[in-house]
Symmetry: none
DNA sequence: TATGAATGAGGCTTCATTCAT
DNA sequence: GATGAATGAAGCCTCATTCAT
């Protein structure tokens, strides 16, 4: 008898993702983005996912819980993607630029996920716990701004404000960049958008 | 074929024209921002507005139409407020700054209306006609950006992009500024936020 | 001062038919035939008639009463039309044939009224009083059948049955005859239909 | 987002397949004939059928669809009953008589179904598709009439007309025959009614 | 694990009717 | 007589959720 160290599962996404569970999540994401949380009955999700009504509620005791799960998953994925190639950067400035590019690229390549998160963020009903928890992934960005200020690269102002302005500008930039299919054009938009942001930030 | 016998209403309701219509709109705005479109039954709106269910549907054939009406009204009000004291400004730069201040002030003073518009903007179901119609109020802003470019005050880039970045930054700024109650602090945030934006825009 | 004998008004249709009252009745007939009793809101009737909601209820305290009035009016008109040129006929046979023709002609020329009466006859909800009262107009037909039997022209059978068979055959004939626009064709159908009926009745 | 907590149902409902569906149909038929389509709320149907509101709509997405289903079912049943013992008859005449008897007997024994069909036939709102589909069951009757004409037993006239007159006469006969409870009397009425029809048809 | 029939509270909307003007 | 805003009971239908199999 072989003993195995039970693998430490990251708190939330533990339930050994069965195939059905994944199908449900994928389908739900697509439908929620197209039709909104309230325009999407759970019955439709299960039908499109090819499972029974009961199956959905086996994995997610509540519609709300399904939404939350999706939110947490996407948020953490986004945070992760945002850090790609982060360690190799040296200055705060280059880190921030790297992060901005990552964010924009991710947003363009995952429009459904982005739309989902926006919808979630602006829906007055959803569980606020998930909301706050989601934000926590981005605290490192705050730190980064503070670091930039100490380095003298970023203006010495309330880091919260800078963080917030930066985040909202990025979301505008993604929206704009998603509007073109042409890669050259897109490249240009991204470059200039990031310039806008950096000019706003720099000392 | 008989339905009901309405109770005699107390004669204290000497209402002029569409007082009721206004009460409904006001109540709806408050409830929608608190509880969301879908968390707010029409029955609750009419109850809180102090009118009968039928009255709501007398003025707005559909819940959706009520929402749309609210949207159009707020959007046009916002556009109007944004232009306050606009004509006295000479340069594109001062105009844009004036406009920014107006936007932030309006946002801070009308949090419910702002929240409503955000919710509306990010709800995948709502009538797109109202959406587009709403945007039309802000075309003058695009023109303003173009004017600034011609003047040489704003950098020569895709005005759409600049407009979009500016708008999203402003919304972030409002959110941040709404966080403080202290007027001095708020003043400072606004000033620095507008600096951020202007630095992003300027040539 | 001239005294005038107040004209004796026939019990029901007394209310000095105002123009509005007539417009309402006419409109209601058209709408009921097209859309059914329940598919026709009183609000639609008054709108199409060009009067206010309240006006309809001024003349007809109830929707049901409006329907009944229409029914009584049409039924009595139909009965009257059925007797056209009746007195000049001598034998029961010729009387019956005359009546049959009248019925068919009226039915073809007043399809809306016919449809209304059928709908009324087969609606389980409508006031039965109007139902029975309507039938009273046709008692003379029963008498006619009995007369024919005494004359030896009609088979000696339960007159109720004969009356009933005759009536239902006539309604079938009208339906069939209404199907053609061509007058010659129609003439032929009517002739043969009446033959069918007379062959069924005769001794 | 939570709705309700269903009570534990007593385990006495070991239902096979769509027992509920049948209960709904049966109950609906009874109620519709008593109170009319519009006098019968779906809520009353489900209550009387002993099922939940949702159950009705699980089986019939619409009230109209429930009515249609009922119509189609009854119509096809009636058509089937009308052909009982049909094959053993040799001549068109005997076939028609057989069919007439079958029709009358079915009508007398199924007054609710008959009333339902009449109500359906004269309701201006109902789906015309079901209407036409229902009629298709009776095309063989048309053929029968044509056969009789070729045999020389039926007079040589538009078969559509004859079919139509026959059908309407039959419906009158059923109504009349249903009026008596006395079997001898009833027998007599049927016989004489069929004579009426045959005399109308024969060459 | 999976299924899907069953539940029933609750949502949106309709419409006959009233009544103050 | 005429108007039409106001009423509110009641109708149809949706949908998150349960549970026996």
């Amino acid at each position: 008898m072989t003993r195995q160290k039970p693998v430490k599962r990251p708190a939330d996404e533990g339930k050994m993702s069965s195939e059905n569970r994944e199908k449900i999540l994928t389908t739900a994401l697509a439908l929620f983005t197209e039709r909104g949380f309230f325009g999407t009955p759970t019955s439709l999700i299960s039908k499109e996912a090819g499972v029974a009504t009961g199956t959905l509620f086996f994995y997610f005791p509540t519609k709300e819980e399904l939404i939350d799960t999706l939110y947490r998953r996407i948020k953490s994925e986004a945070a992760q993607e945002m850090c790609r190639g982060f360690d190799t950067e040296k200055t705060a400035q280059s880190k921030i630029r790297c992060l901005g590019i990552n964010a924009v690229v991710w947003g363009i390549q995952n429009p459904a996920k982005l739309k989902f998160m926006e919808q979630f963020a602006y829906s007055p009903f959803v569980s606020t716990t998930a909301h706050e928890e989601g934000m926590s992934h981005f605290h490192f960005l705050r730190n980064l701004v503070e670091e930039g200020i100490r380095e003298g690269a970023i203006r010495d102002t309330d880091p919260s404000l800078l963080f917030c302005m930066m985040a909202s500008s990025l979301s505008g930039l993604i929206a704009q960049a998603s509007g073109t299919a042409d890669p050259a054009e897109r490249e240009k938009i991204i470059k200039e958008g990031l310039d806008f942001i950096w000019n706003g930030l720099k000392a």
